[in-house]
């Protein structure tokens, strides 16, 4: 579905069912350079099991108007504008990587509008190498290759997809290539400059789950340790998964999300 948010078109996939503001809503937010399709094998289940789903294309990504917003703070505020446009008072927020930063920051800012928090492939901070950052800002193909090679765990690099016949490296690379030039760099810079503060963690009082990949090289399990201080947060580590657990092990990722959402 398309929403009008702050004068621009925002695209949100609804998992194959029309959005119904009367149902518990879940907002899914993708990571740097990606779009809503990374959640395809989680969102459809929720949409067909009594939830209303908004899998967003962040500004400047996928089918949403640009420009991309360049700070996590701005994106966190934007999420509430999306909820307003959809007629949803509140929602559970699920984010991956950069999307996890957005979800966490949003939950800290307006806890009254957030029902629950699911943070996939998350960390307290995500420093980005200068080489990757520059390649991303310049729209160089190298950035897509580095993200794909580091994003997928070693096991997934050799395949074994749950979705029969799909080659995960090719899919990730192509998704990044479809993005608008330089946007992935803007995203990476936003991640690089953001750091989850102890104060933000203190403000979060909603149920939370951290979904981590045991073989994540972009946000290793140990990098998420400070987030475990979120009150009542539980941590689920998916064995053999890398950073892109929703694609690498979609079933286990869904099962992990189902424990909360």
């Amino acid at each position: 579905m398309e929403l009008r948010v702050q004068g621009k078109t925002v695209y949100a996939a609804t998992g194959g069912k029309a959005f119904d503001s009367a149902l518990p809503a879940i907002v899914f937010m993708h990571g740097a350079g990606m779009d809503h399709t990374v959640w395809a094998l989680q969102t459809r289940w929720f949409a067909w099991h009594g939830r209303s789903v908004l899998a967003l294309d962040l500004p400047g990504h996928g089918r949403s108007d640009g420009p991309a917003l360049d700070t996590i703070d701005a994106l966190a505020e934007w999420v509430f504008a999306v909820l307003d446009a959809a007629g949803a008072k509140g929602a559970a927020l699920a984010g991956h990587s950069m999307g996890a930063f957005i979800a966490l920051e949003a939950a800290a800012r307006r806890p009254e509008r957030v029902r629950a928090l699911a943070l996939c492939g998350c960390a307290a901070e995500m420093p980005v190498s200068e080489k990757l950052l520059n390649a991303g800002l310049a729209g160089e193909h190298l950035a897509y290759e580095l993200i794909t090679a580091w994003g997928l765990g070693r096991r997934a690099q050799m395949g074994g997809a749950e979705a029969p016949g799909t080659w995960m490296s090719g899919g990730a690379l192509r998704l990044l290539e479809h993005g608008r030039k330089g946007v992935v760099g803007i995203d990476l810079r936003a991640c690089d400059r953001y750091k989850v503060s102890a104060a933000a963690i203190q403000k979060i009082k909603v149920p939370a789950v951290l979904v981590l990949g045991s073989h994540d090289r972009m946000s290793p399990v140990k990098a998420a340790a400070p987030l475990a201080a979120i009150s009542g947060a539980k941590t689920i580590v998916i064995d053999q998964a890398g950073h892109m657990m929703m694609i690498e092990q979609p079933g286990r990722t869904l099962d992990a999300l189902r424990t909360l959402l």
Partner: protein, 436 residues
């Protein structure tokens, strides 16, 4: 972190798509000879059927052994996914049926496999799909043949049997400007010699029966999606960009992005048309794929040796092999197929049809049969076999004369192959000429 460290082609040939069997540690890909898979519970079953979860339901739609082959071929071609099929022809039809229905139009190279030519000329019109043929070297001809209802441009990496090489990047640009994809049959080249997606091609099909298997024991096909074509921007492919009632209104492009085409091909095409690859077949083809990078260079070396020999034989009118400087597409071959132009090529024998008959019947190592890409050397006379349904005009357009003999050079010792050809060429000629 200077560069991305992806596994290379040779490694992918052996490992892509497979991890050692978690139950018993089997290193080889197990043959999952099963029709169906036990659901965990009723919700799991419903979720699989509604594409809420990924997994196997019924082996007509997917099978774990076949899925390994599919991933491996997608990896070797550099695509996002693959659907393995019962044959190469099934892959071609599946690709077409996923893109268009009644009223659709195809622009195709005229120099293609006879079976594909039959499909386009005689069978698809019964389903309301028309085809315009263009000489593969007539790049502008592809542009002229496009119509508002065109939904696909098609060709072969190496034309059959003339080995014409289309200007893939130029034809791809023409197709894309018209908002339609370019599909290429990459059977003769294999991804070892040419990766069409790197030259602008959007979809690739294979007869995996040929070099991918390499052993001549199984009929198999594959349809591979680059994931690059923007179906939404084109606006000409409602099967991919509009809600599909067959899956509760699923919009494939919206839901699966770059994987839209290959997901629809499986979800609808295998479900409804059912031209599925058997797990035993996938196992056979996997054995071949594991040595593709070792076999193909030897095929090419043998073919070059044989082709050079034939150019010097007085009983040979001409030799058409892109690796020879005399071939019209030699320069293009160097760009698109830098590691060689495969091991299938044709030559003209002096003495026409009768000499061709005597030649083929005199060969001992080369087997006379309707296949190519085997480890064993093969020979055929296309005008009377693979392309016999084509009329004289179509044969001429495809460059197939009565004197044309097609070889598929195998992996035997090249000295033995040359000796076999030499003996058969002598036997094929009238005594006077042979004496000369």
């Amino acid at each position: 972190m200077a560069e991305a460290n992806f596994a290379k082609f040779d490694t992918l040939s052996l490992h892509a798509g497979q991890h050692p069997d978690p139950l018993f540690g089997a290193r080889a890909v197990p043959i999952y000879q099963t029709t169906s898979y036990v659901f965990r519970d009723t919700d799991h079953a419903a979720a699989l059927f509604n594409l809420e979860r990924a997994g196997h339901i019924y082996s007509r739609i997917s099978n774990p052994t076949v899925a390994v082959l599919e991933e491996r071929l997608a990896a070797l071609e550099g695509g996002v996914g693959c659907v393995a099929t019962a044959s190469g022809q099934a892959a071609l039809f599946l690709g077409i049926a996923t893109l268009m229905g009644q009223g659709g139009h195809i622009v195709s190279s005229a120099s293609i496999y006879g079976g594909s030519h039959n499909l386009f000329t005689h069978t698809l019109p019964r389903f309301g799909i028309a085809t315009t043929f263009v000489h593969p070297r007539d790049t502008d001809g592809f542009k002229r043949a496009l119509r508002p209802e065109t939904r696909l441009v098609f060709g072969e990496t190496l034309g059959n049997p003339g080995l014409e090489i289309m200007d893939l990047p130029a034809v791809a640009t023409i197709a894309h400007k018209h908002g339609v994809p370019l599909m290429v049959d990459n059977t003769f080249a294999t991804p070892y010699l040419c990766r069409p997606f790197e030259h602008g091609v959007d979809l690739v099909i294979h007869s995996a029966t040929k070099f991918l298997g390499g052993h001549g024991v199984a009929i198999a096909g594959a349809l591979i999606d680059s994931g690059r074509f923007d179906w939404e921007a084109s606006g000409k492919f409602p099967t991919l960009t509009e809600p599909y009632a067959g899956y509760h209104g699923l919009d494939f492009a919206e839901e699966f992005g770059p994987g839209a085409f290959i997901m629809r091909a499986r979800a609808e095409g295998l479900r409804d048309f059912g031209a599925t690859m058997a797990p035993q077949t996938a196992f056979y083809i996997l054995q071949g794929v594991e040595t593709l990078h070792v076999r193909v260079p030897r095929h090419v070396a043998n073919a070059r040796r044989v082709a050079e020999y034939l150019t010097r034989n007085p009983a040979v009118e001409w030799v058409s092999y892109p690796d020879l400087p005399s071939h019209p597409d030699h320069e293009r071959a160097k760009k698109l197929l830098p590691k060689g132009s495969g091991s299938i090529f044709s030559f003209g024998i002096k003495g026409g049809r009768e000499a061709g008959r005597r030649f083929i019947e005199s060969l001992q190592l080369f087997s006379h049969l309707a296949n190519v890409g085997d480890a064993k050397s093969l020979v055929i006379h296309p005008a009377s076999t693979t392309h016999q349904q084509m009329d004289a005009a179509a044969l001429k357009a495809a460059g197939i004369g009565e004197e044309l003999v097609r070889l598929s050079v195998g992996l035997e010792d090249p000295d033995d192959l040359v000796e076999d050809l030499s003996r058969a060429l002598r036997a094929a000629q009238p005594r006077r000429m042979a004496a000369e």
